[in-house]
C-alpha cells in the first residue's frame, strides 16, 4: 500500500492505509482528532469542516488520498491561534453555542469567511455560513459573533 503524506496542524504525518478511506474517519479514528464531527456524512452539514491549504473542505466526502502533499488544519490546530481566541470570545459573549456539535465546523467556516472578507456584512456572513447547518440557534447569535470577532479582531485577518 502506498503511503499518504501530509501536514496536519503543522506536523508531518505519514499513513499507510487505504487511500480511499474518508479523510474524516482517518482524522477521528487513526489520528484521534475528534474535533471535526460527523453530522450527515455527505458534505451537506459542514460539521466535519477542515482547512486544506487554507480552503474550507468537508472531510466526510474527501478520500484520504486527496490530502497527499497538502497542508491540513483542523480545529485542534486552529484553536492554538490568536484568531481562534478572538472567535471563541465572540461566540461565548454572543451566546452562539447551544448543543455545540456544529460549532467546530462553524469556527472553521468563520475563519474561512473572515480570511476572504475581514469585515463582512450580515448578508455576506449568511452566505459564508450557508454550508454549515445548525439546528439549535437559528444562526442569529452566530452571525453576531462573527461580526463581533471581525470588529475586535481588526487587523488579524
Amino acid at each position: 500500500m502506498q503511503s499518504v503524506k501530509f501536514r496536519l496542524n503543522g506536523n508531518p504525518v505519514t499513513l499507510k492505509t487505504d487511500p480511499t478511506r474518508r479523510f474524516l474517519d482517518v482524522l477521528r479514528e487513526d489520528l484521534s482528532h475528534t474535533g471535526p464531527k460527523e453530522g450527515c456524512g455527505e458534505g451537506e452539514c459542514g460539521a466535519c469542516a477542515v482547512l486544506i491549504d487554507g480552503h474550507i473542505t468537508n472531510s466526510c466526502i474527501l478520500p484520504l488520498g486527496n490530502v497527499d502533499g497538502r497542508d491540513v488544519m483542523t480545529i485542534e490546530g486552529y484553536r492554538e491561534t490568536e484568531r481562534y481566541r478572538v472567535l471563541e470570545e465572540a461566540y461565548i459573549a454572543e451566546g452562539a453555542v447551544q448543543c455545540g456539535i456544529c460549532i467546530p465546523g462553524m469556527i472553521i467556516a468563520s475563519e474561512s469567511l473572515l480570511h476572504h472578507n475581514p469585515s463582512p456584512t450580515d448578508d455576506e456572513i449568511r452566505i459564508g455560513l450557508s454550508g454549515n447547518l445548525c439546528r439549535c440557534t437559528g444562526y442569529n447569535m452566530i452571525i453576531r459573533a462573527i461580526k463581533r470577532a471581525a470588529e475586535r479582531g481588526k487587523g488579524l485577518w
Binding site: R28, S32, T34, G35, P36, K37, E38, G39, C40, G41, E42, E44, C45, A47, T74, I75, E76, R79, L87, E88, Y91, I92, A93, E94, G95, V97, Q98, C99, G100, I101, C102, I103, P104, I107, D122, I125, R126, I127, L129, S130, G131, N132, L133, C134, R135, C136, T137, G138, Y139, N140, M141, I142, I143
Partner: protein
Amino acid sequence: MSNIHHSVPKIDASEKISGRMAYVADIRIDGMLHAKTVRSTEAHARIRDIRVPTLPEGYYVIDHRDIPGKNVVKMIFEDWPVFAVDKVHHIGEPIMLVVGPDKRVVQTLVDAIEIDYEPLESVFSMTESVIHYHYDKGDAEAAFKEADRIIAHEYDTGYQEQAYIEPQGFIGTYEDDRIHLIGSIQAPYYVKNAVIETMACAPEDIRVVQATVGGAFGGKEEFPSLIGCQLAVALKKIKKPIKLIYEREEDMDTTTKRHPSKTRIEGAIKDGKITALRTHIGIDSGAFIGLSGVVLSRAIIASTSAYTVDNLDISGDVYKTNTVPNGAFRGFGAPQMIYAVEMFFHHVAKELGVDVHAFRLKHLAKQGDRTSTSGLFRDPILMPEMIERACAMSDYHRKRKAYADPNVYKGIGMSWFLHGCGFTGSGEAEHIKAKVTLEKLASGLVHLRVAAVDMGQGAKTTLMKVAAETLGLPLERIVYDNPDTDLVPDSGPTVASRTAMVVGGLIARAAARLKDEWNDGEHQTITEQYTQPEYMAWNQDTFTGDAYPAYSWGVNVVEVEVDKTTLEVQVKNIWSTYDVGKSLDDNIVIGQADGGTAQGVAYGYLEVMRHHRGKLLQKNMTDYVIPTAVDMAKTETELFDNPFAFGPYGAKGAGELTLVGGAPAVALAIEMAIGERVHSIPATPEYLMEVLKNAKR
C-alpha cells in the same frame, strides 16, 4: 436576585467551541466492537426465513431470542418490540444486530443477511384508530343550535424531522455483571427503566450515563430507549464494549418524527363571536403507539390556543399505520393544533367580513377565564401588551394594509399562542415524582445531583445559576456533571418544558434549605421531592381541570416575499414577544427563541418529508431541507416579565413555546402574499401552485 436574567458565559461553551467536548461518537474504548442494525425492507410482512451467512470469528448476531426479559420497550404505551419476532410492521423495523470488531465487515454481513418475507396487507391511511379521546366544555350542542352561522374547515400538517446534527448513538460496556450505557439521550431514567424490563434484572445492574448531546428536540426522549435495550442485550451476550452509532440516513429513515395530522374545526358563530368549537384531530402514530396518546392529549388540550371559547366538543384519534413510528418533538402535538386554530380564526373572520385583528382580540384569553379543559387561567396574561409590542416592532398594521393587494406578493402574518408548562395533568405528581439532591462536599463545592440533560438548551448553566444565586455562592462553587444514574436521583426526563420550572424549582428549594443548614467543612446532602401546587385538580378520564400548573405565552410576526413565478417563499423578518415568567438567562432564553422559531417557521413552509407506501422519500440532509443561514431571517425578540409563583425566581417553560407559533405565522404571511387560503403545511411552492390553480377555476 432579580438580576438572574443577566447572561453569563455558558458553562460548557469553551469546551464545545474548541472541539474538546466528547460526544458519544468521540468516545473510544479499547477493544470495542461496532454494532449495526438489520432492518425490515417491508412495510408489513411475516418473516418466513432469515439466512445469516457463516460469521467470521469474533462476529455475532443478536436478535429477539437473546432477550432475557420482555421484548418490549418500556414507555407510556408498551407495544414497541426491541427486536421483531415473526412479523415486521414498518420499513426499517429492527430485526437483529450484527456486532464485530471491523465496522466495514459488520456492514458487509448486514448486507449479506437474507430475509424472506410474506407480505401482509398494509395500512397507510388514517383509518385504524387505536386511541380515542374526547372532552366537553360548556354545552357545544346548544351553542351550535343557537348559532347564526356555522363555519367548518380542514387543515393538515406533514412530518417534521428533528434533524439534530448529531445522530443517535450509544456506547456500552459489560463489567462485573453490570451493563453500563453511555448515550446521546434526554432521559437517563427512561433508558434505565426500559433496560431493566428488557434484561429482567435488578435496577443496580444497569448504569446509564448521558454523553454530551448534540441536539435532541424530543428525538432523544423515547427513541434512545430502543437502542439502549438492543445494546444491553448485545452487551450481556458478548461481554465486550460495543459502540452503536447511527449514520444520518439510518437515523432519518428509522427514528421518530413529528406526527402528521388532519384537523377539522367547526365553529358556531353568534353575534360576530365564536361561541362553540367542534374539533377533531387525527394523528398518525406509525406502526407503534409509543408516546402517541400523550401527544394527542396535548394536541386536543391546545384546541383553543390563546383564545377562550365557552363551549367545546373536542376529540382526537391516534391512527396506526405501517410507517415509521412517530414520537416526541418539541411542542408535542401542540404545533399541529395551534396551526389549525390560528388558521381557522383568520378564515372565519374573513368569511364574516370583519377585521381579523379585532375579531381575534375579542376572543383572546384573559386572567380568570376558563381554559379549554375548564381549568382556570389564574395568573396575569400579558398578551394585550405583547401583541401591541409585536405590532409596533414589525409595523404590522401598516404592512398588512400595504400587502393586502395580492399583486405585491408580500405578506405579514401574526400568531398568538400559549404552551402548557410541564407534564399534562397529574403526570408530574403521579408518574414522575421528581427528586433532586444537592450534595455539599466538605470542600464547600456543591454538586447538583439531577437527571436533567443539557442538550444545548443551557440546562447546566441555568440550573447552576439558580443554585448559586440561592446559596449566594459564585458559579464556580457549583458542579453539574452529565447525569449518571449511579449518582443522581430520578428528577425526571428532560422534556415538556419542565426542566427550568420543575427541576429548577426543586433546586431552589433544596438550595434554600442547604443555605439554612450550612455547616462549613461538613459533607451535607439535601433532597427535595416535587409536590404539585395545591390548586391543581385534573381528571384524566374527562379531560377536565387544570391541565398544566402554568402557561407561557407568545406572539410571532413573520414577513415574507413570494416569488411571482416560482412561488418560492423567502422569509424576510421575524419578530417575537414571549412571556416565560422570568428569564433565568437572557442569552439562553433568546437562543431558545431564535432556534425554536426557526424550527417552527420552517415547519410551516420549508421542511418536507413524505412517504410512499411506507418508504420515506427524504432520507438525508440533502433532500430533507432545514434552514441554512441564508434561509433564516433576522429575528428580533423581546421578553416580558411575568413571574410565576411556583417557578424558581418566577420562571415558567420556554423551550417548546418558541416553536409552536412559527408555522401559522408564516402560513398566514404566505396567505396574504398570494391572496388565497393555506390549509396545508408545509406550504411549498408546489402546494401554492395548486392552491392558485384551484382558485382560478
